[in-house]
């Protein structure tokens, strides 16, 4: 990737991101679209950027930052505090949508590891898109928003567990079990470190000058990722755990402020670099899977909105709003597909299919989902008669 290519890339990311923003959409589908346009596969009229070691490296750094920030938000203490509310809606969502996702996965790949990856891709909604839309559409005060956020939190936790084996699991039963056990050990060691070493690390970091503070944090994150990779886990798990270790350290806010910009730039490049590998010509092969998955998502997520909403005594209209907020898929689906793309236990064609699927599926749900969410209140008023409570 030359500097000229990079400048075209950044310009296109900026323009498409802005356009998406004008329509009230998330920037994630815009970045994916930029990658598909500039990438070597169909459409070919503007194939400027070849996937290379450079783009792979940028994608890796972007992935690390995205998960590092997720980890920072993920304090053990907060988790315990909100645990009670998170359970029921989240469990229903897991049951329904991972179940439906698994059906799609089996239909696409038969009983295989690839089916599990696909199920996870379809199960996990986008926290980033949903939260942004809830703020943009001014829904933070609504009762159903509590439910939506609780479900998203549950999904984040569930998917953190999946990240552990999606990159390296699936070889054989013994191998997968070994990887899962290592992942579990690594997670517990990190949680323990967060609990007992976090404050000490925080004190140490806060004493450093700014320049060295930045370097130390960056080094820690990359180091944890490298360590996780050495242990046959994915760098994603390492970065996530690095975030968790620092989440209770007292310097979390400073880290977030200092690294927001880096995360946003590399995050955008991550989605872009991932999309370079998407071959739109594969729509012939994966088109039906995408279509099926989109339908399943609309039905499954809206269904969970009604199931959990009913249990939580929400009105039908509120339940519809809750379900609509969960339709958009984004960062996690792409991250899972990216990790799976490096997993040698999957066949080359499976990896290509999963990447193409994830890209198209995210494009579809991230746009349709947000539109559905925006209109859900109007739709609700039409569908369910207004009961006047005064």
């Amino acid at each position: 990737m030359t500097l000229a290519e990079l400048s075209v890339t950044i310009a296109l990311l900026g323009v498409l991101g802005l356009v998406a923003g004008r329509f009230g959409l998330s920037a994630i589908p815009a970045y994916l679209l930029a990658g598909i346009i500039l990438g070597p596969n169909e459409p070919k009229f503007l194939s400027l950027v070849q996937p290379s070691e450079v783009t792979a490296f940028v994608a890796e750094v972007g992935l690390i930052f995205l998960l590092f920030f997720l980890g920072l938000e993920f304090s053990v203490e907060r988790l315990v505090r909100s645990g009670r509310h998170v359970g029921l809606g989240g469990a229903l969502d897991l049951l329904v949508n991972a179940g439906l996702g698994a059906l799609v996965g089996v239909a696409a790949f038969g009983f295989s590891f690839a089916a599990i990856v696909l199920a996870a891709c379809i199960y996990v909604s986008s926290s980033a898109i949903a939260v942004k839309a809830l703020i943009d559409f001014r829904r933070l005060a609504d009762d159903e928003t509590d439910l939506v956020l609780a479900i998203l939190l549950f999904e984040d936790i569930a998917i953190a567990a999946v990240l552990g084996f999606v990159a390296t699991g699936g070889g054989g039963l013994g191998e997968t079990a070994r990887v899962s056990a290592t992942a579990l050990l690594f997670v517990f060691a990190s949680l323990a470190a967060s609990r007992w070493l976090g404050p000490a690390i925080g004190r140490l970091l806060s004493r450093l000058e700014l320049e060295f503070f930045l370097l130390a944090v960056f080094g820690f994150v990359v180091g944890m990722s490298a360590l996780a990779k050495q242990l046959d886990l994915s760098d994603a798990v390492g970065a996530l755990m690095a975030g968790i270790v620092l989440s209770d350290s007292g310097v979390r806010e400073e880290i977030e402020q200092r690294f927001f910009a880096l995360r946003d730039v590399f995050g955008a490049l991550f989605f872009f670099a991932f999309a370079l590998t998407i071959d739109v010509a594969k729509i012939g092969e994966v088109g039906w899977i995408v279509l099926l998955a989109v339908i399943v998502t609309f039905v499954g997520k809206t269904g969970v909105g009604f199931l959990a909403g009913g249990l939580g005594r929400l009105t039908a209209r509120q339940s519809l709003n809750a379900g609509a907020a969960l339709v958009a898929h984004g960062e996690f689906t792409v991250i899972l597909a990216q990790l799976a793309a490096g997993n040698l236990a999957l066949t080359v064609s499976q990896r290509g299919d999963i990447a193409a699927f994830a890209g198209l599926y995210v494009l579809a749900t991230a746009t349709l989902g947000v539109v559905f969410m925006k209109e859900s209140k109007v739709l609700g008023r039409r569908l369910f008669s207004v009961r006047v409570v005064d």
């Binding site: 505090r81 001014r138 933070l140 005060a141 509590d146 956020l149 209209r317 209140k377 409570v389 005064d390």
Partner: protein
């Protein structure tokens, strides 16, 4: 009057506080994790969409809170007290930053002689002075609580800003 202040945790966003006013409006305050605050007002509790959404940065939210809490005006209870005082009034008077009186004792200032008002308390952080004594020193950022007739208090405000020479 009592009302229910409902508090809910919004994972990944912050904390939400809400209550319904006597006139039936629903007020919700979102405290974001990053310190920003949103105020949502639904004109009626059953409204789908908020009539007003106010997005406030931390300092703006504090300013608004202080305004609503009555920090800049005499609290209601004082107004009631004033009725009992007849033509006397109690005034909260912040000391201007440039006031020439800063650093001098109350005895030295002799406000009672100059303007006819009595300083009864000094509000300051961290500890307010409740029964102000002649040897208490006026400091930067103080708010003086004074008793006097309406006209006297007006003179006193001018005196506090200008200093002893320019005021009549």
């Amino acid at each position: 009057m009592t009302f229910d202040l409902k508090q809910t945790r919004l994972p990944g966003v912050g904390v939400k506080y809400g209550f319904t006013t006597a006139s039936g409006s629903r007020v919700t305050v979102i405290q974001h994790n990053d310190g920003d605050r949103d105020v949502y007002v639904h004109r009626r509790a059953s409204d789908d969409d908020p009539a007003v959404v106010l997005e406030l940065a931390d300092d703006e939210a504090r300013q608004l809170g202080a305004l609503l809490g009555g920090a800049y005006e005499r609290p209601r209870i004082v107004e009631e007290l004033e009725m009992a005082l007849g033509e006397l009034s109690i005034e909260w008077t912040p000391v201007p930053e440039t006031s020439p009186w800063i650093g001098r004792t109350l005895a030295d200032c002799a406000f009672r002689v100059r303007a006819g008002v009595t300083v009864i308390a000094i509000l300051r952080d961290p500890e307010p002075v409740s029964g102000a004594q002649p040897d208490d020193v006026i400091k930067q950022g103080d708010t003086l609580v004074v008793v006097g007739k309406a006209g006297q208090v007006r003179d006193f405000r001018r005196l506090l800003t200008a200093g002893p020479d320019e005021s009549a």
